[in-house]
């Protein structure tokens, strides 16, 4: 159907809304039928000081300290941050830099905990049973203290979104069970197995933002999850205004802004947040974690991880303690030789390629994949010229012109790239996926964004330096003038000497080249008469 006709039909309410563009990759949901398995606690857990979007935490423990499961071991620095908790009981053996899932390959200060096997929990946080009658700000503080961050993969601190703002009242809470990335099935299995807990979390979220209307969004390739959620919903009281929407499968439907448009027909303006149009979006895993934090008093110390990929003998869904080395998880699923294998952290569309399996599971680890290397390398090393086919523009869910943008980024025409709304790109990878010339478009966008951020930082730094430099020049000039004034006073009171003329003229010219002269004057503390 032509796009205009579709838009018209949507406007008239004849047809459901649907975000533009998108792709239909092979979903490879290999582990969709595998129940969640508990993983034995690893002997050593590695907890990086930053597992969320925002600022790095600082450690609260020293080497040799004994910690309990759920004990806060690092405190957040700044507003956009959540603390880190020990994920089992044991002893802190070292605090040093360790590799994390980051494209740079750089490390992050991490706390190493040697498990003592008892797995004793810190019970200082009381469960809040009567949360319906609890002040939402207290529940919000609980969400922050328990280290909750968006478990869909973006790990944005959850408590920031859970707020009642009079200017932007939340009308609808959307629970995101889309999971549109290929291979990943962790949200799917959680919905099948723990639907009731997820709904409890959703009820808490709705209480916190003061609304009773909600939508649970699930793609139509997870019919069993939708059914389980519907059954759980039927048996819950006070959730009559919540409905389940089963949407046709399309990538990137799980992206927050795309999902909101599909469900409500409202677009989140560029640079704004969903709350500005009265919507709050949370992942199903986060909802369950919030329920545990409030109703059980448990901080976030474990998550569901999908371990999958065409090179992995036994794909599975695992309940893993944060900090577990992913090498041990691969070994558990029968993979020990990493030659000719590409490991990916997250989903195949937006995840990071890793050069080695020596990183821990963190809050953002929705999946870890072992893919055969030939398939990946074939698509990534041969870049052909753009043939202007326009497939990338058709696939782009945010209406950008990827081929043009990539050209601007490649040739460092960054102002132009910004004019063409580079920062609206959500890096979903749909354009790179459809490109017949194998151009790594998203990689160019990331390069462009990085360079722009760098230039902005440098500009801020230069401005600060300029102010300091000008302040220093002004101070030197002022001190010279004061000194000259005092000298002339001294000459007047005492008998005038002919020699004084030469010395009096010299400092009267505030020249930066005479810095020796200038600095001499700044050093001596001057007395004001």
């Amino acid at each position: 159907m032509p796009a205009m006709l579709r838009t018209l039909a949507q406007k008239m309410g004849l047809m459901a809304h649907s975000f533009r563009g998108g792709i239909h990759p092979d979903m490879h949901k290999l582990s969709a039928m595998n129940p969640i398995e508990n993983v034995a606690i690893s002997p050593v857990l590695i907890l990086p000081m930053k597992q969320h979007i925002g600022s790095v935490c600082s450690p609260l423990v020293k080497v040799g300290d004994h910690v309990l499961r759920g004990q806060k071991i690092a405190k957040s620095e700044g507003y956009l941050s959540v603390p880190v908790h020990a994920s089992t009981s044991g002893r802190v053996v070292k605090i040093e830099e360790h590799a994390i899932a980051h494209p740079s390959g750089m490390g992050m200060p991490s706390i190493f905990i040697e498990a003592d096997g008892d797995d004793r929990a810190d019970e200082s946080l009381e469960p809040i049973i009567d949360w319906q009658n609890t002040d939402p700000t207290l529940l919000r503080e609980r969400a922050r203290m328990c280290g909750l961050a968006g478990l869909g993969g973006a790990v944005f601190p959850t408590f920031i979104k859970l707020v009642q703002d009079k200017r932007f009242p939340i009308e609808t809470v959307i629970l995101n069970g889309i999971e549109c990335e290929p291979y990943l099935t962790n949200d799917h299995r959680l919905m099948v197995e723990q639907a009731s807990e997820i709904l409890d979390g959703m009820a808490i979220i709705m209480h916190m933002v003061g609304t009773s209307s909600g939508i649970i969004a699930i793609e139509d390739n997870k019919a069993d999850a939708a059914q389980a959620m519907q059954e759980a919903l039927n048996s819950k009281d006070g959730m009559d205004d919540v409905r389940i929407e089963v949407l046709p499968t399309r990538y990137p439907q799980g992206s927050e802004k795309q999902l909101i448009y599909t469900l409500t027909g409202r677009e989140v303006p560029a640079g704004k947040l969903p709350m500005h149009i009265g919507v709050l979006c949370q992942n199903v895993g986060t909802s369950k974690a919030l329920r545990d934090a409030v109703m059980l008093g448990q901080p976030l110390t474990e998550r569901i991880v999908t371990i999958s990929g065409d090179a992995l003998p036994q794909p599975a869904n695992l309940r893993v303690r944060l900090g577990t080395p992913i090498r041990s998880l691969f070994a558990r699923q029968g993979l020990e030789d990493f030659n000719h294998i590409q490991i990916v952290h997250g989903g195949p569309m937006m995840g990071e390629r890793l050069s080695h399996p020596d990183i821990p599971v963190i809050k953002s680890t929705s999946g870890i994949l072992a893919l055969s290397k030939q398939a990946i390398d074939a698509a990534h090393t041969v870049e052909n010229p753009c043939i202007r086919c326009g497939h990338c523009s058709e696939a782009c869910p945010v209406s950008l012109v990827p081929n043009l943008l990539a050209d601007f980024c490649r040739s460092d025409q960054l102002e132009k790239a910004e004019d063409y709304q580079l920062f609206d790109c959500i890096e979903c990878g749909a354009c790179s996926y459809v490109c017949p010339s194998n151009i790594p478009l998203v990689h160019y966008f990331r390069y462009g964004k990085g360079q722009i951020a760098l230039a902005r930082r440098e500009q801020v730094f230069a401005e600060a330096s300029r102010q300091r430099s000008e302040g220093r020049d002004a101070r030197i000039e002022r001190e010279l003038a004061e000194k000259a004034a005092r000298r002339s006073r001294v000459r007047k009171t005492h008998a005038p000497k002919p020699v004084a003329d030469a010395s009096a003229n010299k400092p009267a010219t505030p020249d930066v080249t005479a810095s020796d002269n200038a600095v001499e004057n700044t050093a001596k503390p001057e007395e004001k008469s």
């Binding site: 494209p103 490390g107 090393t381 990085g450 951020a453 810095s515």
Partner: protein, 199 residues
Amino acid sequence: MMMESMSGLLYALASLGAFALCAGIVLAIAQKIFHIEGDPMIDNIDALLPQTQCGQCGFPGCKPYATAVAGSEAEVNHCVPGGERTMLQIANLMGVEPKELDEEASAPMLAFVREDECIGCTLCIKACPVDAIIGAPKQYHTVIADHCTGCTLCVEPCPVDCIDMLVKPELIEHWAWPLPDTKRSQLGHERREQHAGHA
């Protein structure tokens, strides 16, 4: 006939002259009213410079260099820490041909005072153009890392040679993606370099 053409000429001269006079008066008044203190070009160029105040351009700071460039007394290619990007921006602003840089910028540096050896002479504090060193006479001095521009001006005055220039550590938050490692992107790089060479 002759008289007629003569008077036509006079009319033309008189009317044009009157118009020129009026325009002159208006312009003179406008210049008084819309007078701009200083040269705005200097500030525009200064805003593009990295403000390290390092003096590598041969001028005693960024503002003096901007003044020289604005007055066409200096070329646009002397700012070493600014690199190619700054040079191109200044050339664009001045409307002149880009020039090849004098020398390549080194990696970003940071001054570091070995405090055990510092004698507290305050000479480096006086040398720092951006007030990035703190300390007092006979007390240890130290460099505020966030404020240091890496200009190296503090190294020379130190009588006990206790200041090191260290490579600025790369932070994971400030890491930026490189260009994709593909043949075509490298080709693009080579072509750009060729263009730059010819220009």
